[in-house]
């Protein structure tokens, strides 16, 4: 199977200048490869750096060391070094990210928030909205909500809008940060089905899944994020 993600020797330390330059090592020498059609679940205790690793893959967080290659149209792009306009292009057509929480956009309806990634890929507005609606329907978002900005939606509804936005445009690499955390069993099943469909069309998935049932249903393998901080502490003492 084709390799789509090749992250090598990543290190990430947060430097908190507001706290006298306190250093917080989170990732130390982390390497991860993911192939087409494969789903890797990140594991480790809370605070281990699972979300940090996903955000680094998305170029939302910077790393100090290592390479973060994503295959785009047959070419490797190192997300740790690519120019901003290249990262924007990778995110548009290759790399999707379902964040833990929806970031609402004032005045923009749920339907338009979901349709936006398709429009950015060049889809006609009306077609994009139709596909967005179909996905919201699958995720059990009542049609009367589609034209409202999701600011007032419940946590679970916002999360489903967020998932729809992340999955509406078929991208070959998907990063998912606890996509089912506030969903009931029925909606969790829908999300699992959507992720399976993505895998079936050859997408590489990296996810953080808080519940074991979801993880078992979707993940092919587990990847434990090594504890960088404990490691350095042990060395220090």
């Amino acid at each position: 199977m084709t390799l789509l993600i090749a992250a090598r020797q990543l290190s990430k330390t947060f430097v908190l200048h507001q706290q006298d330059g306190l250093e917080l090592p989170v990732l130390a020498d982390v390497s991860l490869e993911v192939h087409a059609g494969e789903c890797v679940a990140l594991t480790g205790p809370s605070g281990a750096g699972k979300s940090t690793l996903l955000k680094a893959l998305y170029a939302n967080y910077l790393v100090q060391h290592g390479t973060l290659n994503i295959l785009r149209h047959g070419r490797w792009i190192d997300m740790a070094r690519a120019a901003p306009h290249e990262i924007v292009a990778v995110r548009r057509d290759t790399l999707g990210y379902v964040s833990q929480f929806l970031r609402v956009i004032p005045r923009v309806s749920a339907l338009d928030i979901v349709a936006e990634p398709l429009i950015e890929q060049g889809e006609e507005r009306e077609t994009a909205r139709e596909r967005a609606g179909a996905l919201l329907e699958r995720l059990n978002i009542a049609e009367r909500l589609w034209n409202l900005p999701p600011a007032t939606f419940s946590g679970g509804e916002q999360q489903r809008v967020n998932i729809a936005r992340g999955l509406v445009a078929p991208r070959p690499v998907l990063l998912l940060d606890e996509p089912t955390a506030s969903l009931d069993a029925a909606n969790r099943a829908v999300v699992v089905e959507l992720m399976r469909e993505a895998k079936a069309r050859g997408a590489a998935l990296v996810g953080i899944f808080h519940d074991e049932a979801t993880r078992d249903a979707i993940a092919d393998r587990l990847f434990t994020v090594p504890l960088a901080r404990r490691h350095t502490k042990e060395i220090a003492t």
Binding site: N60, P84, P106
Partner: protein
């Protein structure tokens, strides 16, 4: 993809003090870039120097026009600079009175740049102006009203129409939401976001509001005391700021 703007070692002095210095970046087609930083950090100076409204003292700004020809602003004749400003650029100011002609009708404000480009057909100009007043949610029925009768939010939306009507490739904006109430701001930003998406225009916008940058900009430059202290993707700058000053800025906002 090629950049449309290249900025190298740019500096502007006021007397023996620098308004901005050591600025380097490239801007690509359709990119939205925000310049953030506290008051007095040199944002407006940088913007005006980029747009050729102030002459640079050091470094260079090179612009690639629609034909693919490069122009270095400091070597450009004034007439040529004006031609670029009219055909390829737009400039939206914080105070509407600096960017609009308050004495003439809204329609004439929108038509002015078209006329400067040689459009003469009165009916056509009026129709285009009406269409743009609709686009910016002012309404075609206000075509003959002067902007002095408009609210602050409407005036800023009129500036957008007046600038975008000629389909420029690059628009500069200096705190366009600065004087607006929060509720009016949201409407303005929503509209701007949509028009920028639709037209694919590149934008360089000065703002001191990180929330505005989050909403609109692919990229952000953070300025402090005339220098760019941090530059990168907007979400990276806001979620994983590196420079002490950026960390201070980000930690000072409630939520962006």
């Amino acid at each position: 993809m090629k950049p449309i703007l290249q900025v190298k070692q740019l500096a502007k002095r006021y007397g023996d003090r620098y308004g901005c210095r050591d600025v380097n970046f490239e801007l690509y087609e359709g990119e939205v870039l925000c310049i953030v930083g506290e008051s007095g950090s040199g944002k407006s100076t940088l913007l005006a120097t980029l747009a050729g409204r102030l002459a640079a003292d050091e470094g260079e700004v090179t612009f690639r026009d629609a034909n693919g020809d490069w122009h270095e602003l400091s070597t450009l004749a004034e007439a040529e600079r004006r031609r670029l400003a009219r055909t390829e650029w737009g400039f939206v100011t914080q105070h509407a009175r600096d960017g609009l002609r308050m004495g003439v009708s809204a329609g004439a404000n929108v038509s002015e740049r078209l006329m400067a480009l040689g459009h003469r057909h009165y009916g056509q100009l009026r129709a285009t102006a009406a269409e743009w007043l609709e686009k910016v949610e002012i309404g075609a029925e206000r075509l003959d009203d002067p902007p002095s009768r408009f609210s602050g939010g409407m005036q800023q939306r009129l500036q957008i129409a007046r600038n975008l009507v000629t389909r420029p490739r690059l628009v500069f904006m200096d705190e366009p939401t600065g004087g607006l109430d929060v509720s009016v701001q949201a409407r303005f930003l929503d509209l701007l976001r949509r028009l920028v998406h639709e037209s694919g225009v590149a934008v360089i916008m000065v703002t001191h509001d990180l929330g505005v940058a989050r909403l609109l900009a692919h990229r952000t430059l953070v300025m402090q005391q005339g220098r760019v202290v941090e530059a990168g993707l907007t979400d990276q700058i806001l979620d994983d700021p590196q420079h002490p000053y950026t960390q201070l800025l980000v930690s000072s906002i409630v939520q962006a």
